[in-house]
């Protein structure tokens, strides 16, 4: 159920992305044309001291105004102009996109005080802030929650800039507003997915940690219990006081064991939810989730996704967790070296029954002495690491019937790769 919603949301997000692209295209065109015009304008001005002015110039000016007006009319962002000389800031121009965005008609907008358009539900603090900024002749830039005429909420990215006359006095304000609702929604979805994954990872880490801890503690508890019971056996009927003390030791040992047992059953791993998966889609989704980190760290991620790969059977969240873990490890490995930027993720068919995912970095590589311990519990080469990531990843991959391995690249960096058996029921 939840999944269906996500895919339909995804479709919506795609559509909005497409819309945004065409919008960007249009904007780019308008910008180019405006630039051309500026250049031509400049050329003309230079030629203006000659006598070739007159009607020609007039005509060109007309044409310019026409194109600029047309461009504003065609823009998909809402554009409006406010008269700054009048005390009630009336709107003297708005383009069709503005009407579409706000839901108000031309009649309702033109001559209207701009701030009244926000409706009774608007956040007065924000409005006051905007008023203050523009009354000082400064620009405003911000994202606000707004209401259409019908009361519908939408997120608007608003930019208001003063327009000055030749003397520098503010005569007008020009505003541009963009509907960012869909973009915000998409970001929110990505954020939610990332949160979900992080939660699963945290719970997984905790469970694995408790399990390891339980093992470490149950070892001495076993020894203590056996020593105490051996002692009792040796005393037979002698030293009743001592025998009693040994019994206390035994009882408390078992109490400790019970605590551990309960703790362990509390954190029992959820059964993985296996479903047919497209490894390329999974890879793409995972990369989307971590993209902000990659760009923030100034790295590039390259995808080489094999075509026509068969479906696999697996738990989406768990496999994403593995991939995410490998990618963030690689990013960390490349952190220190300034000249390594590229991270390569490759999906391929290893043989007829196995799909392989490789994560190849150009970082510092793995020291030979760490190779063996790499997947062990609590082994870490990071100062703040827990040493759980790779060991959990390996147990996830193995639960899927695959293998997770690592090797150093011949040139530089390391490659981590895992295999997953092909889902035989759903071969393409």
């Amino acid at each position: 159920m939840k999944k269906k919603i996500i895919t339909s949301k995804k479709k919506k997000a795609m559509a909005s992305l497409l819309k945004k692209k065409t919008r960007d295209c249009l904007e780019e065109k308008v910008r180019q044309q405006t630039d051309e015009l500026k250049i031509r304008d400049g050329q003309l001005k230079r030629g203006a001291d000659r006598e070739k002015l007159g009607a020609d110039r007039e005509k060109i000016a007309q044409e310019q105004i026409h194109i600029r007006t047309k461009a504003m009319e065609s823009a998909s962002d809402g554009i409006f102009i406010i008269d700054a000389k009048k005390p009630d800031f009336p709107i003297i121009y708005a383009n069709p996109a503005f009407y579409g965005l706000t839901g108000y008609s031309k009649k309702e907008v033109i001559g209207q005080n701009y701030f009244l358009l926000y409706g009774p539900n608007a956040d007065m603090h924000v409005l006051d802030e905007i008023k203050q900024i523009i009354s000082q002749g400064r620009s405003f830039y911000g994202e606000l929650l707004k209401f259409r005429k019908n009361g519908e909420k939408f997120w608007s990215l608003l930019r208001i800039a003063p327009v000055r006359d030749t003397k520098g006095n503010v005569t007008h304000y020009v505003g541009i507003k963009t509907d960012t609702t869909l973009m915000k929604q998409r970001n929110l979805e990505i954020e939610e997915q990332r949160e979900e994954l992080l939660h699963v990872t945290r719970v997984g880490k905790l469970a694995e940690f408790v399990s390891s801890l339980a093992h470490e503690i149950s070892q001495p508890l076993t020894a203590i219990l056996s020593y105490a019971q051996a002692g009792q056996r040796m005393l037979k009927d002698r030293e009743p006081r001592l025998r009693e003390i040994l019994q206390y030791i035994i009882n408390d040992d078992q109490r400790a064991a019970e605590v551990i047992r309960r703790l362990r059953s509390l954190l029992k791993k959820n059964k993985p939810a296996f479903e047919p998966l497209d490894i390329n889609a999974l890879t793409n989704d995972t990369v989307t989730l971590i993209m902000p980190h990659i760009t923030a760290k100034n790295k590039i991620i390259k995808l080489e996704l094999g075509s026509g790969l068969p479906m696999i059977q697996g738990d989406r969240i768990q496999l994403q967790q593995v991939l995410l873990n490998l990618i963030s490890n690689s990013l960390e490995a490349m952190e220190d070296s300034k000249d390594s930027h590229e991270l390569l993720i490759r999906t391929s068919l290893r043989d007829a029954d196995t799909v392989m995912v490789q994560v190849k970095d150009s970082g510092c590589g793995i020291p030979q002495e760490n190779m063996k311990k790499l997947f062990a519990h609590f082994f870490t080469s990071k100062p703040d690491g827990l040493g759980m990531g790779l060991s959990i990843s390996r147990s996830i991959v193995e639960a899927h019937g695959g293998h997770l391995e690592a090797e150093n690249n011949p040139d530089r960096g390391a490659t981590f790769y895992f295999t997953i058996p092909v889902n035989r029921d759903n071969k393409l």
Partner: protein
């Protein structure tokens, strides 16, 4: 339980576990040998006694399950009691399927351990007897000539004398003589008994 003729092996990479179990089982009258890794255990010269192995699952290099496999390969018939700090159900199922006597999550009480050991030793006794018997049959088989062994195998497959004769291209009389000697050397009074012996020794492989 007769503890004199029995030996208990403990394999656990934790030296404290080895020592404490050794003391506990000693105090119950058992002879105990402990090993902190599978390799050490495999290198041990096993005395011909009832025995059982108390085996930890998680160990570096060769883990408990791997040792179980190696023992099966090498014909070491000591029954196994698994002990582990990671007690999950799937693991215990795996262990029991592979023929373990019991699966004890750590820490376990003396009582639980002794119950499992009693069970394991009685199984060991049966297994030892069976092994001795097989060894005895094998010894008799070793006294057969190649031709007699061949006839023995045919008879074990349930072939009639004349069929064996035609297959071998020899006379019925010759086969009868061979067969008589096989019965005598194998100390079998009837053909049924002979077939039983063949089955016990695993002699059913056909020649063609």
């Amino acid at each position: 339980m007769n503890t004199k003729n029995a030996i208990i092996y403990v394999v656990d990479d934790d030296a404290s576990i080895c020592k404490s179990l050794s003391l506990l089982l000693n105090s119950n009258g058992f002879r105990v040998e402990t090993f902190t890794c599978a390799e050490e255990f495999l290198a041990f010269k096993y005395p011909k006694l009832q025995s059982c192995l108390v085996l930890d699952i998680r160990m570096p290099n060769i883990n408990g399950f791997a040792l179980q496999g190696l023992m099966a390969q090498r014909g070491i018939i000591t029954p196994i009691i698994f002990i582990t700090g990671y007690g999950d159900i799937s693991m215990s199922v795996q262990a029991m399927k592979a023929g373990a006597i019991d699966f004890l999550p750590k820490p376990f009480t003396e009582k639980k351990l002794l119950n499992a050991i009693t069970l394991a030793l009685s199984k060991s006794k049966v297994l030892n007897q069976k092994q001795t018997e097989i060894a005895r049959i094998r010894q008799r088989i070793n006294t057969l000539s190649p031709r007699e062994l061949e006839v023995f195998q045919f008879v074990a497959q349930g072939m009639m004398n004349k069929n064996i004769a035609s297959k071998r291209g020899t006379s019925l009389q010759t086969i009868k003589i061979h067969r008589g000697r096989v019965m005598q050397k194998m100390q079998a009074k009837t053909v049924t008994e002979l077939i039983h012996l063949a089955q016990k020794a695993g002699i059913t492989s056909s020649i063609d």
